[in-house]
Symmetry: C2
């Protein structure tokens, strides 16, 4: 038997064994782009790693919303594992933020808010050194159709660059990641300066 | 080479390949119990599948909290996959709910709330037909130490049995699961009756 054939058999055995043991099969590409550079909407991000959720968060003062809103943030599993080990994001890191309407009256809930089934928005923040001049790019989905890149001149880029705790991402709002970044010494200098000023 | 040896080599090759491809290694037992039946605190639940988060939710009227609180709900990956395929929970299903204090002032946040690093509580709801007379059991962790089972006479059991949308779990608050249960026809009759009454 040729060595190459043996390798194929071994990989075949691997896939079957992994499925039987409950582990995942080897994933395909995380993200797909159209030929003209639009990003296809990721379909499986709810199986990625959850980082946090916010309630009615806003970075702009005096901007009341029409309705209460939750935002849930997810990151792909490989990037999460790298971050937990190093405090940094590897190439191809992909974060997804989804917005959901908040409900209050339903079933036995008497106060506070829970998340409704209506998806209000979906955005992707992806690091891809070969694809984007600034390493990272934002995409906002308005429907199931592929999304165009948000131009690098948009304020989301400059705001993230200026205020993000780690590598243009808002790790300061991700409660299990912030202590890791602090421990690994990977907090951005500008963020550290801002955080120190807040304490005064 | 003996067939058994070949199998071991194949599995060895599998593990290396799986790690390189980003897939997970084959997991060990999901939960561990002490000899006297206490549950050891699950350490990796933040890598399980996120179901939802709530904000200041309460099932009891007129119970204002000392501080704003988020609760995040996770389920093990195998149970999630089964639920998405069938609308039902398999044996060994494990849900974890963690409570976190909500923060409002920090970094560039101007309104609303984000999740803080302080864990306020951790509870487990687990289905294990061979271990629990009522199939499901609750455990509440007060520290890193193993937790004793909450007695079956506690109100959490009767409340979940009476009001839960699917198999004693509050799927009515899990926005991506509720449509699945509805589609698969697995909503509990008592829940359906309550939900219909709400619409009147």
């Amino acid at each position: 038997m040729k060595p190459q054939m043996m390798m194929m058999l071994m990989l075949g055995g691997c896939a079957v064994h992994a499925a039987a043991g409950g582990a995942e099969t080897i994933p395909g590409p995380l993200l797909k782009y159209t030929l003209d550079g639009r990003l296809e909407r990721p379909m499986d991000y709810r199986e990625w790693v959850f980082l946090t959720s916010g309630f009615d968060m806003s970075y702009v003062a005096g901007s009341p919303m029409d309705q209460h809103t939750f935002d849930n943030v997810f990151v792909d599993r490989q990037a999460y594992k790298t971050f937990m080990a190093t405090g940094t994001w590897p190439d191809k890191t992909t974060l997804v933020i989804e917005d959901r309407g908040a409900e209050s009256k339903g079933s036995i809930n008497k106060s506070g808010n829970y998340q409704g089934s209506t998806l209000l928005g979906l955005e992707v923040h992806v690091k891809d050194d070969a694809r984007f001049a600034g390493q990272w790019a934002f995409f906002a989905f308005k429907s199931a159709a592929p999304a165009e890149i948000i131009p690098a001149s948009a304020s989301c880029y400059s705001c993230h660059a200026a205020h993000a705790a780690v590598d243009t991402t808002f790790v300061q709002f991700y409660p299990t990641l912030l202590p890791v970044a602090r421990g690994k010494g990977t907090l951005a200098p500008a963020y550290q300066k801002e955080a120190a000023a807040e304490l005064k």
